[in-house]
Every structure is written in C-alpha cells, then in structure tokens.
Homo-oligomer: 205 residues x 2
C-alpha cells in the first residue's frame, strides 16, 4: 500500500464510514456488511468494498466486517487514533459555536487556543478558553506546534490570516469564510459554506 496513491475522494469517504460504524458500535452492534454499511451512508456496497480494500483485507467473505476492528483500522489510517490540537481563529458566532461544540474530543480533536483581533473580545472566556490577541497567533501556534486550524473570520481577512497560519506551520485548515483560500502545496483546506450547499440543492427544486 502506498498512501500517496490513494485518491483523495476515497480518503474523503473514510470519515463517513467511520462515523456510521461508530454509531453502530454505540448501538451494541459487533459486525456489519458492506450492504448494511452502505444503507447507513447512502453509498453502494460495491463502492465501500472497493474503498476499504485499498488498505488491506479487512472483511471476511460471508461474515462481513468486525465493527471494532474496522473502526480501529480506519482511525489508524486517518491518524485519529490520537487527539490533535486545533487552533480556532475568530470568536464570532461561528467561533463560539465551534468552541462550545462537544463533538470534537471523542472523534480525534481538541481546541487548545482561540484567537480574535477584536480587543473587546480578547481576555473573554468561551467554554473555559481565554480568547487571545491574534497579534500573538503566529508565535503561539508555532511554539505549540499546532498543525490544524479552524478559520471563522470574515471573508475580507481570511486569506491574510491563512498566510499567517501557514507561516506558523499549520498544515490543515477548516475554512468557514465564504471564499476559496489559496495555499501552497502540502497544505490542505476544507471549506464549509452553508450557502454553497443550499445553492446546490435549489437546482433540483
């Protein structure tokens, strides 16, 4: 197996499989089939078998997949068999919702620092975290070795903040600002913009 050769579209489906498997495990299920998993994620059984087989032989003909085993394998492949530190940039409404979100820790992530450039917010606490001055962002992120950032700042400053994050050593950015960020090779960005998702669906109305 050569990790570099796995298409990104397959990598993108693994967290969806993992999430469904974890829900099955919570319900006390021990084994599943590609057909059953497919029903839970809206992806064909054949596609699931093909995707998972990229990483080895994890299922058995006739008995299917062991859910705990497949969860462990997927967590290892995705490198979330650990907890990653995350910096949150922007303490507006979206930043507040992210800072208070309880669903990160058991899925591999914890916010460890929050920055904002609004001096009225600096020093405030959200969910136990003191909001820090974004003037110190690059230095703080670099010295802590944080590699992942969530960006919840206005579109007008998002590219500038991104450039700073990259200087600080950040390699993964989850971007909530409604614009495409330009980053150098080796840095990954995922975009979350509710409006593009809504617009994609109105086409069918």
């Amino acid at each position: 197996m050569n990790a570099d050769k796995i298409p990104d579209i397959i990598i993108g489906r693994l967290p969806i499989y993992l999430r469904a498997l974890q829900r099955m495990a919570e319900k006390g299920m021990k084994t599943t089939s590609s057909q059953e998993l497919g029903d839970h994620v809206g992806i064909s059984a054949a596609q699931i078998r093909k995707d998972i087989s990229q990483f080895g032989e994890f299922g058995k003909q006739g008995t299917g997949y062991s859910i705990p085993f497949l969860i462990d394998k997927l967590r290892a492949i995705l490198k979330i068999d650990r907890i990653w530190d995350v910096a949150l940039i922007g303490a507006g409404d979206v930043g507040h919702a992210l800072a208070r979100y309880q669903g990160f820790a058991d899925r591999g992530f914890q916010i460890v620092m929050i920055f904002d450039n609004d001096h009225n917010k600096v020093g405030e606490k959200i969910n136990g975290f003191v909001i820090e001055d974004s003037a110190r962002m690059v230095e703080k992120i670099r010295s802590a070795g944080v590699k992942i950032a969530m960006l919840a700042v206005p579109a007008s400053v998002a590219q500038d903040v991104t450039d700073q994050l990259i200087r600080a050593g950040v390699k993964s950015i989850l971007n909530y600002a409604p614009l495409h960020l330009v980053v150098p090779e080796g840095v990954h960005v995922q975009h979350i913009d509710p409006v593009t998702h809504l617009q994609r669906m109105t086409y069918y109305l």
Copy 2:
C-alpha cells in the same frame, strides 16, 4: 440541454464558481477567463470550460466570460435568481449562529421560521425571530409552503425530525447533525460535519 442529465458533481461546482465571480464583481471586474476563474477556485481551466459549456455557450473565444452575464446565468441555472424561504430547526449554538448569519440574503436565502422542542427556548427571540414550538413545525412549514430546512438538532433526534420535515413537504435539507439521513427519492440532503472534514485532512499530516 436536459437538466436531468447534468451530473450532480457539476451542479456542486457551480455555487463555487458563482461565489468567486461575485467576489470578482465586488472588486469591479467585468470580464474573466477560465484560467483566472480557475486560479480563484482551485479547479482547472479545462474543467471550468467543460462544466459551463454544459449549459450553453457563455464565453467568447479570446475575450473570455462577461462576469455579470455569467453570474446571471449561474443564478438562473441554480434557481437563486429569487429568495428562498428556509426553516431552521434547532436553536442551540449552531442554530443561533445560523439565525444570526448575515450571508444568506444576498445569496438567495432567508430564514423565515425557527423551531425548537425546548420549552425554555420557545418564545425567545434570535435576530428578530421568535423561536416556535417544534410541535407545530409540520403544520407551519406545510401551510407556508417552505421547501428548504436547515437541521441543527442532536444526532439522536435528527432522523425523526427529518421524517417530519418530509411529511411537511420539505425537499432540501442542510443537515448539521453528525449522521447520514435517510430520505426518499426527490429529497436532497447536504451534510455539514466539521469533524469529517478535519479527519479527511489528518490523513495527510
């Protein structure tokens, strides 16, 4: 042109093109090329030309695309040359952030009703909207003819609420609960789960 034959993956890219074109227009730009647009969205010029040509001949050899013309065409194709009413279900942290988000109206959407099942929240106002009891959700959505919902409820109740939304006539659901929703044919769901996006990037760390 037969709308049914355009692959969904192409439809999914149109809002990204539109967002970039609107930013260009805000900067006072009048024309662009597939190359330039591609640089703004991280998609190849060839792919952009191919996607856009599915809907007609919108560009001119040598002079490229008129930005206002292409914006109008994309808005018409995506049916956002109007304002769509949206129901928001769930007035927790994510619901609050969505209710207060200023970026919907100029991109084709407006929240017109907010529901929660927590009687301590019902009657409260967010951004001018009174939170209504979700017991009245089906009736209210149906009588208003709302076709789009944003779902910001806990995973444990998300499928049940979805089933109610479908009974109410909703055809497009933007789901913030961290699970895959099962819906009948003709109903579209888009999922927003920050953790699956983060997990997709840790693979490369």
